[in-house]
């Protein structure tokens, strides 16, 4: 690994550890290996959003050309968001692509991702299904995102109705996550979700 990259990551690591956001438990950064090529990030769901109370884990891979090229980041925690793939966790965010600047840091990235959770951009979607729901039925979107936060990110807001519907499908022999995806994609319409799963 190039010298600058390691030097930068070491420094940035300290920057995040020392920062006030850590004190508020909003962002966190851990080393995965000892040569600073892979890190584990964590961001708290922003207050007053569907993600509130959840903790979202991120995979951060540092390229050799860092910081001249952006880090490769994806969500490990499953999340329902127009700009994040509900399947792979891939993120559509300009600063992780062509708007990256060498003077940006991992702290900027984590804070930008947190900002993305508060303000989605459905016109530049990563997940077309989620984006369509966001645009057509924002209430349904919030309910679904809150349910996913509860199911995968330890969020406090359980929705008994959703859980009940998932249980119905699980009883039919469907895997839980698969059931959740189908129901989420069909606005929690049990009949249509069942139809899709068994067709």
């Amino acid at each position: 690994m190039a010298n600058i990259a390691a030097q930068r990551i070491k420094r940035e690591f300290k920057e995040v550890i020392r920062s006030e956001e850590v004190a508020k438990c909003a962002i966190k950064l851990d080393l995965v290996d000892n040569n600073y090529t892979e890190l584990r990030g964590e961001i708290a769901g922003p207050p007053d959003t569907a993600y509130e109370g959840g903790n979202f884990v991120l995979e951060i891979k540092v390229p050799e050309t860092y910081p001249f090229n952006p880090p490769k980041v994806r969500f490990i925690t499953k999340i329902w968001h127009p700009n994040i793939s509900s399947v792979t966790g891939a993120i559509c965010l300009d600063i992780l692509k062509d708007q990256w600047a060498a003077a940006m840091t991992l702290r900027t990235v984590l804070l930008s991702l947190q900002a993305l959770l508060s303000a989605a951009e459905p016109d530049d979607p990563q997940d077309a299904v989620v984006a369509r729901q966001y645009k057509e039925n924002v209430e349904m979107f919030r309910l679904t995102a809150r349910h996913w936060t509860n199911a995968y990110a330890g969020g406090p807001n359980a929705n008994p109705e959703c859980d009940e519907k998932i249980k119905r499908l699980v009883d039919m022999g469907i895997e839980e996550h698969q059931a959740r995806v189908a129901l989420s994609s069909y606005n929690w319409d049990l009949e249509r979700a069942t139809e899709q799963l068994f067709s």
Binding site: I4, Q7, R8, P67, F68, A101, A102, A103
Partner: protein, 479 residues
């Protein structure tokens, strides 16, 4: 070096011909009335084929004249021109109106610059190494980074193919790095420097509406024309013919957007249209299997000698007259009242009608290239057996070239007709298209069977076909 399209004859005059034909005709030019070439030939196009060096000179001239006019540095002039599609007048107007805003819009200056540092040591925000202030450099935005980081930044960007759009390394800073700043930092890195200059040049040419790279494989020629129109240019070096505006194959009378739409449609529907590509059809009279081996659509069954049209399989005799109907697609007038399925079927039939004719002419063009080979053999044979000299037979090559040109235009009339709205204009177009179609098939038939040096008949046919072609283009070529 102005080139006219008409000069497509295969005959070569050697350069040291002692008689100068041009001068001979130019001498009494004074009493010849000057005519607008556009009126005679709708495809007339003035352009020049330039080398990279010539284009660089051309660009430098506009940079120099702008920098003199506005009394600004050549670096600034170049960035301004590149950002305004090399439109000097627009730059001058904007700059005289508001110089500082123009420079901010061009992303040369920041909306609000940073203060310059005073201490001797400073930590580079990219490599986090404290260094002496001398090791740093910055753009007008004032964001300072050490020179080594600038160099790495440039290397990474250039290796990704980015050149004129490299920006400052600071967060949220939009200021672009000018050419001179990059070159200054890369002065000891010859390879990457050359790569950068190559990309920059490509960006300049691509942003310049009067310039177009020749699309020929590995061809370095750049075509220049003051007339930014969808006209045919032919590269002097590799002989590739292309549309000046979009750089694709020349497509008159269809325009750039329509031909793009058509080609995408053809590519998408290639499976549906595949069955058309079969090379054989059955003779409509004796039903023997016939393979088309020449360009001409006027077929004669080798078995029963029946004359028929390859496209519609109708009797050829009913084709030759005014009522040439084979190229026209007859739409069902009641289609709006039919079911969705019937409409879909109708849409497919309509598309296939046009696609089939488009594809057929494209194939005919290729077959006629083979005909040219056969023509050469036939002429050799004739000359050997004492029927005329090689010179006597040259007219056949000229007619084959004309045939290719006419058929090419005819091929591109089909996408045009496909996207045309029904109405009197389309009727006129299809009438002219049918006329052209008929004359081209006559010409093709005659060339394939030319047995004498009696050129009168054939030249007459050539004249008619070319007249039909220019008439159609004059009425419908809108560039």
């Amino acid at each position: 070096m102005a080139a006219s399209q008409e000069n497509e004859s295969d005959m070569d005059f050697s350069d040291n011909d002692c008689y100068d034909y041009n001068n001979y005709y130019n001498d009494d030019d004074s009493d010849v009335e000057h005519v607008d070439p556009m009126k005679v030939d709708p495809e007339y196009f003035e352009y020049r084929c330039l080398s990279e060096e010539e284009v660089e000179r051309l660009l430098n001239e506009s940079v120099e004249s702008l920098s003199n006019c506005l009394r600004i540095s050549p670096t600034l002039a170049k960035v301004l021109l590149h950002g305004h599609h090399w439109n000097s007048n627009e730059v001058i107007r904007k700059y005289k109106d508001n110089p500082s805003q123009t420079i901010i819009w061009a992303k040369i200056n920041p909306p609000s610059p940073q203060s310059i540092m005073t201490s001797n040591y400073y930590t580079c925000p990219v490599c986090v190494t404290p260094q002496h202030v001398e090791k740093f450099s910055h753009l007008p935005c004032g964001h300072k980074f050490c020179k080594d980081c600038w160099i790495t930044h440039f290397e990474v960007q250039i290796n990704q193919g980015i050149s004129t759009s490299i920006s400052c390394m600071a967060k949220d800073c939009v200021v672009l790095v000018p050419e001179s700043f990059v070159l200054m930092h890369l002065q000891h890195k010859t390879n990457i420097r050359e790569k950068y200059q190559h990309f920059v040049f490509q960006d300049y040419v691509k942003s310049h509406p009067e310039l177009r790279f020749c699309p020929g494989p590995n061809c370095p020629i750049i075509v220049h024309s003051r007339e930014i129109k969808a006209k045919k240019s032919i590269c002097e070096q590799c002989k590739t013919a292309f549309c000046f505006r979009c750089g694709c194959d020349y497509h008159a009378p269809t325009d750039c957007q329509v031909i793009k739409k058509w080609l995408i449609k053809c590519a998408d529907d290639s499976e549906t249209a595949n069955y058309i590509s079969a090379h054989t059809k059955d003779c409509p009279k004796c039903h023997i299997c016939i393979e088309k081996n020449g360009g001409c659509n006027h077929m004669q069954c080798y078995n029963c000698k029946h004359d028929f049209c390859w496209m519609c399989l109708g009797d050829w005799k009913s084709h030759g007259s005014e009522y040439y109907e084979c190229s026209r697609y007859r739409e069902n007038p009641n289609i709006a009242h039919e079911s969705v399925h019937a409409q879909a079927r109708e849409a497919l039939t309509k598309y296939l009608h046009y696609y089939e004719r488009w594809e057929n002419h494209s194939k005919s063009l290729k077959l006629e290239e083979q005909t040219l080979e056969k023509l050469r053999d036939r002429i050799n044979e004739k000359v050997m057996s004492g029927l005329g000299t090689w010179i006597d037979w040259q007219y056949l090559f000229a007619s084959a070239n004309l045939l290719a040109k006419c058929r090419y235009t005819l091929q591109y009339t089909y996408p045009f007709a496909y996207y045309m709205d029904a109405g009197p204009r389309k009727e006129l177009f299809e009438y002219q298209q049918a006329q052209l179609e008929a004359e081209i098939e006559n010409l093709s038939w005659k060339i394939e069977r030319a047995e004498t040096t009696d050129r009168g008949d054939l030249e007459n046919q050539m004249d008619i076909a070319e007249k039909r072609r220019t008439t159609l283009l004059k009425d419908f070529l809108d560039v």
